[in-house]
């Protein structure tokens, strides 16, 4: 059996197994650390940085940083919340996130994180307004990378769960985006039943299932009722 170690998150003692990340230990203990690129069942990536915490004074991503015996972790301090707000705002402004006209509204983790962090009005950053073509070539799936936050969940799900590698990052820096394995989505072997296409995988409205739009009325969706937290997350809502 792996050894148990103890550390504190915001002064509350948490137990962890050796080798567990701060995030895993916190999840097991019922303590929520906000996240966007990390999701249950996929390898942590550490790219969105929304899960940053301070571990013994150093800023680290909770999803990739191992828990350390006796360490002090700051999660909900004003400083950390400030960073998280800035990061979520950056993601909002990098893409085109027009919640009122987006199919993902109410089940969108970016939107829910905005609400959780108290971002309810226009923010200080400029809008980058990407203009990328929408790929609606596939009979069942639409890909609108203007709404992508580069979390890479579809990439990892397709590669590690579906064994297909339909998606991959292409480009670099601010021009980085999610590319598909072919000229367009219809040329790939992606299917509706893939984990990559599951509603729990894409946290925003970038991957949309055709014919499934507005299955639940906006206003009646999970994050319309409760803030995003442990257990109230992606794909927890049943289709009707």
């Amino acid at each position: 059996m792996s050894k148990i170690l103890k550390f504190e998150i915001d002064g509350v003692e948490i137990e962890a197994r050796r080798g567990q990340s701060i995030m895993q230990a916190a999840d097991d203990a019922g303590v929520y650390i906000p996240r966007l690129c990390d999701v249950e069942g996929l390898e942590p990536q550490g790219s969105c940085r929304v899960c940053v915490v301070k571990q013994n004074g150093r800023v680290v991503s909770a999803c990739t940083q191992p828990a350390i015996e006796g360490s002090q972790v700051e999660n909900e301090t004003e400083e950390i919340l400030g960073y998280r707000r800035d990061l979520v705002r950056m993601l909002y402004h990098e893409g085109n996130h027009l919640c009122p006209i987006c199919e993902a509204s109410g089940r969108c983790e970016l939107q829910a994180m905005g609400y959780r962090l108290g971002i309810t009005q226009a923010t200080k950053y400029p809008y980058l307004q990407p203009v990328r073509p929408v790929d609606a070539s596939h009979p069942d799936i639409v890909l609108d990378t203007n709404r992508c936050i580069l979390c890479g969940r579809c990439i990892r799900a397709s590669r590690d769960v579906d064994g297909k590698h339909v998606f991959e990052y292409v480009g670099r820096g601010i021009n980085k985006r999610v590319g598909v394995n072919g000229n367009r989505l219809a040329d790939t072997d992606v299917e509706l039943k893939d984990r990559a296409i599951d509603l729990a995988t894409c946290p925003v409205g970038c991957i949309i299932q055709k014919g499934q739009g507005f299955f639940a009325p906006i206003g009646e969706r999970q994050f319309d009722k409760r803030p995003i937290t442990l257990g109230v997350g992606p794909g927890k809502e049943k289709k009707t």
Binding site: D86, L128, Y169
Partner: protein
């Protein structure tokens, strides 16, 4: 086309881990890697096309469109720009009839800009295929263009080569070493393999002890103790360990590794061999930046000569069972690959993105094996320490920063070049040696370092005060500080891998606001915005590039407050400084096809 791609893949045994090399060959042979080529490579290697596309679109020396037969890359660095780089670009453009970023209709030439060639001591410079041309003047550029148009191959453009090994038959480059001061450790006369031969008589542990005694710290800029790093690699149980030399110096203003690679290649390989013996490694890699491709054939010959002398290969120098050999991995134009874990990704045939840490490369690096990655200069120092002893080396420099350091000085000074001086000298001493009487600002450590003002010239170059991997850029009173800041941000935006949010997006926002400051459209509050945004980027970014990328802004706000103050507006009337009523009205005027009754005095005239 297909046969060339298939043979490129076969040359590397259809190994996806060698995708860098395969793409470099395909790019060279076919001038680009188009989607059909990506598909074929993917088939050959058993990977997906989008993985190949991910690589091609990551590295700036790869292209998914066909480039010209000859690719001209102009150095876009700020020092080159100050030396007339824009004028040079204009002339190239006129002579070839294409703008920067374009390929000529006849497919003969592509004209591009690259962030930093490593030639700022002989700026402006350009790279024409693998050939470097330096100290460009308008006349020289016109001559180069007419020669190229007349069919002269790039290598034929070199009429006079530089000093030292720059004249070696395998280099023959128009590059000068510009060694302005040879110190007592690296640029003095050094005996061949004295350190290595001494080491082979020792227990590997003793080498680590000696290194720790010397106090040697990594010369790339981060300053981690080399001995301690090697000891972790040696102590991590593994079937194999790797030694990688980071010859990817890309920090603008740094060119001292260029000189070491040219003049001290043997000393560097000797240091790598010592590392292999100390940690128990049988394989090494030299990661050579694409911009230094002109040195590759020479470095291959150095390795080959050492194999023939029994200094690489099996039973090195007669030491039974000690086997070590080295391959050269070419880079393809990505500053981020100077970061050790991104460099390892690149060696593995992946996008040059840093890896999550822990585990650290010394525990799990190249292909998952313990790996030490050290700078060219660090390996050179190792050889000297093993020859002369840790105590001798520790006698130079300061308490925490021992030894001498190679400083690359460029910009507004009469004697740009490489200075080998003990750690701890003041900026002022260095400026005096470089004859930089007009210096008003000095950028220490490149864009990721700090810009200091005249009142700070007595600060010392060492880890305790002003750390630097070697870059020292001098700017006179005539330079525009904010133009420099703007350029540095442009550099980081261009070179960010895009993996994490703050570095990918935050730097774009920083630059937009700096542009606004430069246009005189900002208020005092905008400085708070810059400081807060800069702090978020530096605190939350995943690797050193992101963590240091706001430094140009943060250090100039701190050290040059007046530069900002004169550009700020007061907003007594409650209207934002950036708000201009006339431009705000313009669209409405156009749509309504009439003028404003309130704001246009000549309203009636329409």
């Amino acid at each position: 086309m297909n046969s060339r791609i298939i043979s490129a893949c076969r040359r590397y045994a259809n190994d996806p881990g060698r995708l860098m090399d395969i793409l470099l060959d395909v790019q060279r042979d076919l001038k680009g890697v188009e989607p059909a080529a990506m598909e074929l490579i993917a088939d050959q290697l058993g990977i997906t096309r989008v993985e190949v596309e991910g690589m091609v679109t990551f590295y700036s020396f790869f292209s998914d469109k066909i480039k010209g037969d000859v690719v001209i890359r102009l150095c876009g660095d700020i020092v080159d720009r100050h030396a007339g780089g824009r004028e040079i670009a204009k002339i190239f453009s006129e002579e070839l009839g294409i703008a920067v970023g374009e390929t000529s209709a006849d497919g003969r030439f592509s004209l591009e800009q690259t962030p930093f060639l490593g030639m700022s001591d002989q700026a402006p410079a350009a790279m024409i295929d693998q050939t470097i041309v330096t100290c460009l003047s308008p006349e020289k550029v016109r001559h180069i263009c007419s020669s190229l148009k007349a069919g002269v191959r790039p290598e034929g453009l070199v009429t006079a080569h530089g000093d030292g090994n720059n004249g070696h038959p395998l280099i023959r480059a128009e590059v000068s070493n510009n060694i302005r001061h040879a110190g007592e450790v690296l640029l003095c006369q050094v005996p061949a393999n004295a350190g290595l031969h001494g080491c082979l008589l020792l227990q590997p542990r003793k080498i680590l002890d000696e290194l720790e005694e010397s106090g040697l710290t990594g010369r790339g800029g981060a300053g981690f103790p080399t001995g301690r790093k090697w000891r972790v690699a040696a102590d991590t149980p593994a079937q194999q360990r790797y030694v990688i030399c980071n010859a990817d110096e890309g920090e603008p203003g740094t060119f001292k590794d260029r000189v070491l690679l040219t003049e001290r290649a043997d000393l560097m390989v000797e240091g790598m061999t010592i590392a292999a013996f100390a940690i128990g490694s049988s394989a090494g890699i030299i990661y050579l930046r694409a911009e230094y491709g002109y040195l590759r054939a020479y470095l291959e010959s150095v390795l080959q000569a050492r194999r023939e002398q029994g200094l690489l290969g099996r039973d090195i120098s007669g030491k039974q069972g000690f086997e070590f050999d080295i391959r050269i991995q070419m880079g393809a134009g990505a500053y981020i690959c100077g970061e050790e874990s991104a460099l390892i990704s690149s060696c593995e045939g992946l996008r040059g993105e840093p890896k999550n840490r822990p585990p650290f490369p010394v525990e799990s690096g190249y292909l998952g094996f313990p790996t030490v990655v050290d700078n060219v200069e660090t390996f050179c120092c190792v050889s000297r320490i093993m020859d002369r002893g840790g105590a001798w080396f520790g006698g130079f420099g300061t308490g925490k920063s021992t030894g001498t350091k190679l400083f690359s000085v460029s910009g507004d000074c009469a004697r740009p070049g490489v200075y080998e001086l003990p750690f701890g000298i003041t900026v002022r001493e260095l400026l005096e040696r470089a004859d930089a009487a007009e210096a008003a600002a000095v950028q220490v450590g490149g864009p990721s370092g700090e810009m200091i003002n005249m009142g700070q010239f007595d600060r010392r170059l060492c880890l305790e005060d002003l750390p630097t991997g070697g870059s020292v850029m001098v700017f006179s009173l005539h330079r525009n500080i904010l133009e420099i800041v703007d350029y540095f941000l442009e550099f980081f935006i261009e070179e960010s891998c895009g993996y994490c949010t703050p570095c990918r997006v935050g730097n774009v926002f920083l630059r937009k606001r700096i542009e606004k400051v430069r246009r005189g459209l900002c208020e005092r509050e905008d400085l708070d915005y810059l400081k807060e945004l800069g702090k978020t980027i530096s605190m939350t970014s995943r690797c050193g590039l992101g963590r240091t990328s706001p430094n140009p802004v943060l250090s100039t706000i701190r050290n040059f407050p007046l530069v900002y103050a004169v550009l700020l507006k007061e907003h007594g009337d409650g209207v934002q400084a950036s708000f201009d009523i006339q431009s705000a009205l313009e669209e409405s005027r156009r749509l309504a096809k009439r003028r404003s009754m309130i704001y246009d005095p000549n309203y009636d005239e329409t």
